[in-house]
């Protein structure tokens, strides 16, 4: 069953020079009980995409498309409706998780302030839950009575994970939660996310990263973005073992011996630079860097083509014009 269905979503940034087309017609779905991975180079629009689901603030503008979350279109919710479902149904662990907690408030006070905003009335119950969850992530329950400044960076990260998931959201967005961590801590964080899923604390996770190797570990299905567009989407195993899009292939071949060495590896090593999102080309956005570019690539946009069971990619090499 689909928890979230995104259809042809367009999220732009309004700037003095025009619209930055950071997310330009993206469609995918996240099912109940799965971890959905999103990967792509820095600046391809990953954060823009997931943040637009939670909170759109200027200069971010919604230019079209839908995001159906449990039957409601997130793009059309009123301010108050959207405020209400945040945290209780849809939550996020932000990229800046280590600094996300107000340094001068005790963690239990931060949690209580937030829980109260969502209609909770029993402070003791909320605190009991907090302590229980803190123990679950291997923190002392005393952490609840501490100020975030009294914790180390890694402890703060874990505390933020507890805070973000405390009200059992159905869908959890984890935006680059592992990027700033060393390998061991990365593994711990991944473990915790799995644990949250097993315990039924969260039903589905969107896991955003630029580390493809990590997705292999955690994601059931994944999507690769390039310059605001989906280039490939499918079950993780298939995408990683049989990549269909030239960009995915290049990404994977630039990884140092996949599966053996999980070194923090940024998606680079592909010659050339991504195109400007202010004036993207009409055709395939990857043609400036694609080693196989065809004549029609700069002018004709490739559509997503089915390449396997639930596996799609957008490239002219894969045929599909006749569709």
């Amino acid at each position: 069953m689909a928890m979230l269905t995104v259809e042809d979503l367009k999220i732009y940034y309004a700037t003095p020079f025009g619209h930055v087309k950071a997310v330009d017609g993206v469609s995918f779905e996240v099912r109940e009980g799965e971890v959905f991975g999103i990967a792509g180079e820095s600046g391809c629009g990953k954060s823009t995409l997931v943040h637009s689901l939670i909170l759109r603030k200027p200069p971010m503008v919604h230019m079209g498309g839908k995001a159906l979350f449990k039957g409601r279109d997130l793009m059309r919710l009123s301010k108050e409706e959207s405020r209400k479902i945040r945290y209780t149904e849809l939550s996020i662990i932000p990229q800046y998780a280590m600094n996300a907690l107000n340094p001068t408030k005790k963690i239990k006070d931060i949690v209580w302030d937030l829980a109260r905003e969502h209609g909770h009335t029993d402070r003791e119950e909320v605190e009991r839950l907090l302590r229980e969850r803190l123990k679950m992530v291997k923190l002392s329950e005393k952490v609840a009575d501490m100020y975030p400044v009294e914790l180390s960076g890694g402890m703060r990260q874990r505390a933020t994970m507890v805070v973000s998931t405390l009200l059992n959201p159905d869908l959890l967005i984890a935006d680059e939660v592992t990027s700033a961590l060393d390998v061991t801590t990365q593994r711990v964080v991944i473990e915790l996310l799995h644990h949250f899923m097993r315990e039924g604390i969260v039903k589905s996770i969107i896991f955003v990263t630029h580390d493809l190797a990590l997705l292999d570990k955690i994601a059931d299905r994944m999507m690769i973005l390039y310059a605001g567009k989906v280039v490939e989407i499918g079950p993780t195993e298939e995408v990683i073992n049989e990549p269909s899009h030239p960009y995915t292939q290049l990404l994977l071949s630039s990884l140092p011996r996949m599966g053996i060495q999980y070194r923090k590896q940024k998606l680079r090593g592909i010659p050339g630079y991504p195109i400007s999102l202010l004036n993207p080309p009409k055709g395939c956005r990857f043609y400036t860097r694609c080693p196989y570019a065809l004549d029609k690539c700069p002018s004709e946009e490739p559509k997503l083509v089915k390449v396997g069971e639930e596996h799609y990619a957008a490239c002219h090499l894969l045929g599909g014009e006749d569709q």
């Binding site: 996020i92 996300a100 907690l101 001068t104 100020y147 400044v149």
Partner: protein, 327 residues
Amino acid sequence: MGFRRYMVRKVVVYGITFVFAVTLNWLLPRLMPGNPIEAMVSRSGGAASSQLIKFYEEVYGLNQPMWKQFLNFWVNLFHGDLGYSMLYNAPVSSIIKHALPYDIAILLPAIVLSWLVGNWLGAIAGKNKKYDRYTMPLFYFLASMPYFWFAMILVYVVGVKLGWLPYSGAYAPDLVPSLSWTFIKSFLSHWILPFLSLFIVMIGSWAIGMRNMIIYELEADYVRYLEALGASEKLMTKHAYRNAILPQVTGLALQLGMMVAGAIATEIVFNYPGIGVLIMNAALNQDYFLLQGAFLIVVISVLAANFLIDIVYAFIDPRVRASYTEG
């Protein structure tokens, strides 16, 4: 616990500062060109015969070796003996004792109330851009005014032109300080203008500080996080205000010296019988004992206030305590 280390450190630092200030006070006249005693004697009338000067030098122990003079200085200080004022013909300590309450009467309410009002206004400006556009230049203008000049304007407009309030002295000249109703009424009406002149100018700098802090805090990651988790505008503001107001407490300590200086000049405008007028008279009449005594009292008061603020701050801001627990 980190709090003890914090306290110990503070006590040491303030102790050293105190010793330094006293030493400076002792050293300065001895470093300066000219002979202060000579100047003082010739000021208080009569030609300064060398015998008279010698006499005074003996009285003040200036013929003793330097180390002994220094020691005596400390001993006297701890006995509350700050020397004798030739200008007022009275011990310096008793003159200061009579002046100090007036300073406290205008400075303390001015600082506390301006802090509250200024922070409140600044917080509104930081939140509301429309309002900010008009108030920000006003705050900067207020903060740029010399206290004593604004005091002069108040005297001229409210006191002289409108004739609403008295503007000279601390009470009507025909009264004697007592707890009578007439005296209190007279005291209060004389108090309003000096108080206002400090209060209004101080508002400017608090408001600026708070406005900048709020803008900074509202952009902080923890506010973004609260918003992402569905916090209401009210809750975000509440968290941001709290963090913005904390540095303003430290600001209190940093600005104190400036404000005291402002009060000194302001008292002169109103001829208000506090330390400010003493300092002016002492400086203009070369009454060095009085001047030194006043300097010491001001420094000690400022140090004490700073110390107090530092301790309060450690209680209210967990960041300070945390920085002393680690390592």
